[in-house]
Amino acid sequence: MGVPFKKPEALSDMHTHYCPGCTHGVIHRLVAETIDELGVRGRTVGVAPVGCAVLAYNYFTFDFQEAAHGRAPAVATGIKRVRPDLVVFTYQGDGDLASIGTAEIIHAANRGEKFTTIFVNNAVYGMTGGQMAPTTMPDQRTTTSPFGRNVEEVGMPVKIAELLSALATPGYITRQTVIKPKYIIRAKKAIKKAFTYQLENRCFSLVEVISNCPTNWGLTPLESIKWAEETMLPYYQLGDYKTPE
């Protein structure tokens, strides 16, 4: 009898620095499982962001490049263009991708760069201590929106999956979440599909993953799951926004 459940080879033994209840660990595992299942660890290069996942390279066991804040899609473009045989992905948060890195992600998607982006959206800047992000929900309190996000002043939260799916270039753009087991299974399928499209040299692929932040939301892990489900999911609707077919 084989081992029914074990740590993916692509995942390292290191303890993560993520806060208790954060879902980064789950998303890391889904990426690692995918890389194992596709058998591409030996030719994968990850691109780490600036944000909570700045140290993501410590938790994987393959080549990694660090990027400056928001620039991961440009770094991935550089790698993939000169080495199309490599499997390249970026792992970015919402401050990184949806604020400072909007130009890079829109143009990488529009050029149809053949890499994959895992975009983790938890509606807040995590690592810098809970400031308002472009994805912060209306009336959500953060350290820079202490009275709640005032949409009259700073607009509505940016919907990246919808925004990118409006581009005419073919791509795979989907929004998933990992806040409950049933969603995790779907997210895994989406991540695998995204990497598969890359392996087939089909298109740019982006999986937005709605996540939580108990620490900066000021909630317990369980409360944060509930808040994400009740507040974020109605606004950030799950599903495929674009497929290359």
């Binding site: 030719r43 080549d63 550089g78 263009r81």
Partner: protein, 360 residues
């Protein structure tokens, strides 16, 4: 292959290909857009990668990514675009990625003008980006020299594992001159498996490679930066290049000038020589490392009364010249900083004015 007549910008693009670099990322900006135009049709012919990025910021990270993956890569831009690349170049320096950057300078600050300038001297030699680092800077004075410097730059970037800059003024990019591409300057292939993110399986290794500049531990960052510093000290020992002109006579005035400006100085020197008036020229070919010892020696010649730094900037090189002269002779500046190249007559006038001021 014999000499061909080429525009500087096109020759720079061709030089990279001849040296063995087939990857180019760039964003259009005057006065060097011809490099991208040339390479957009030339690179596909040789199976290379041409990509026009969405901004200079993005381009600086595209070259970082490509270099990190172990491939030779270069970009070209002009002053305002180079400022935007400063961020990415800091990451390239910190994470030790070999990249080649050509800056065909125009006047500034801000949008400035589009005419030739040498106004990015301080940026290139002292502060190309945030953090503790230097880059190797070479300054061509002709299209032929631009070709040779571009060709040599890839091996230098690989030797020192960091950014190398070719700092040319707008004239170097825009003028046409006969050029040849010396076969011996073709860069040798280099195995980068011990550090490049080119895939563990591809290098048959279980050790993964990491390209990063974040080092949170202060002791480790200190050690890392001291290791970078050791490379810059090695550059000072091994890479200083300069060209003497009329330094084997008893000159009264020593000029220090580089790039297009130095050619005007040569004409001025030749004209003054006909009058029996001797002026010497020391032309730095590397700006970092600066030819300090050579400048000290040239300024110390007994006949030399004063030193003049002649630049198409407000005197950005003056600090380096003064430091090298060490107070042994008066040092001053002449130049223009709006995009005009001073004429030989204007340089002669400045020399004579200086001579009078130190004589009385």
């Amino acid at each position: 292959m014999g000499k061909v007549l080429m525009k500087g910008n096109e020759a720079i693009g061709e030089a990279a290909i001849r040296a063995g670099c087939l990857n180019y990322f760039a964003y259009p900006i005057t006065p060097q857009s011809e490099v991208a135009e040339y390479l957009s049709r030339r690179l596909p012919e040789v199976g290379g990668v041409f990509l026009q990025g969405e901004s200079e910021v993005a381009v600086s990270y595209m070259i970082y990514g490509a270099a990190g993956a172990g491939e030779r890569v270069f970009t070209t831009s002009s002053s305002p675009g180079i400022s935007l690349m400063g961020e990415g170049l800091s990451y390239c320096a910190g994470s030790e990625c070999p990249v080649v950057v050509v800056n065909i300078m125009r006047g500034g600050p801000g949008l400035g003008g589009i005419l030739p300038s040498q106004a990015d001297y301080l940026q290139a030699t002292k502060g190309m980006g945030h953090g503790d680092f230097r880059i190797l800077v070479m300054a061509p004075a002709s299209v032929q020299e631009a070709v040779e410097m571009v060709m040599a730059s890839f091996s230098l970037a690989e030797k020192y594992r960091g950014p190398v800059m070719i700092l040319g003024d707008g004239l170097i990019g825009q003028m046409m001159e006969p050029v040849e591409f010396p076969e011996h300057l073709k860069a040798e292939p280099v195995n980068k498996d011990d550090w490049a993110t080119n895939g563990m399986g591809n290098r048959k290794s279980e050790k993964r490679n990491l390209i990063r500049s974040m080092i949170l531990d202060p002791e480790q960052l200190n050690a890392h930066n001291l290791a970078l510093k050791a490379k810059y000290e090695q550059m000072k020992r091994e890479e200083v290049r300069y060209e003497p002109y009329n330094l084997d006579c008893d000159y009264r005035i020593l000029l220090v000038s580089y790039g297009t400006m130095s050619r005007v100085c040569r004409t001025a020197i030749d004209q003054l020589k006909e009058e029996g008036y001797e002026v010497g020229l020391l032309r730095p070919q590397t700006l970092f490392p600066f030819p300090e010892e050579a400048t000290t020696e040239a300024a110390s010649r007994e006949s030399c009364r004063a030193v003049l730094s002649v630049e198409m900037s407000m005197g950005q090189m003056l600090d380096d010249v003064e430091r090298a002269v060490m107070g042994r002779r008066p040092v001053s500046w002449y130049g223009k900083c709006g995009g005009e190249v001073p004429t030989p007559e204007e340089v002669i006038e400045a020399i004579k004015r200086l001579d009078q001021s130190v004589t009385h």
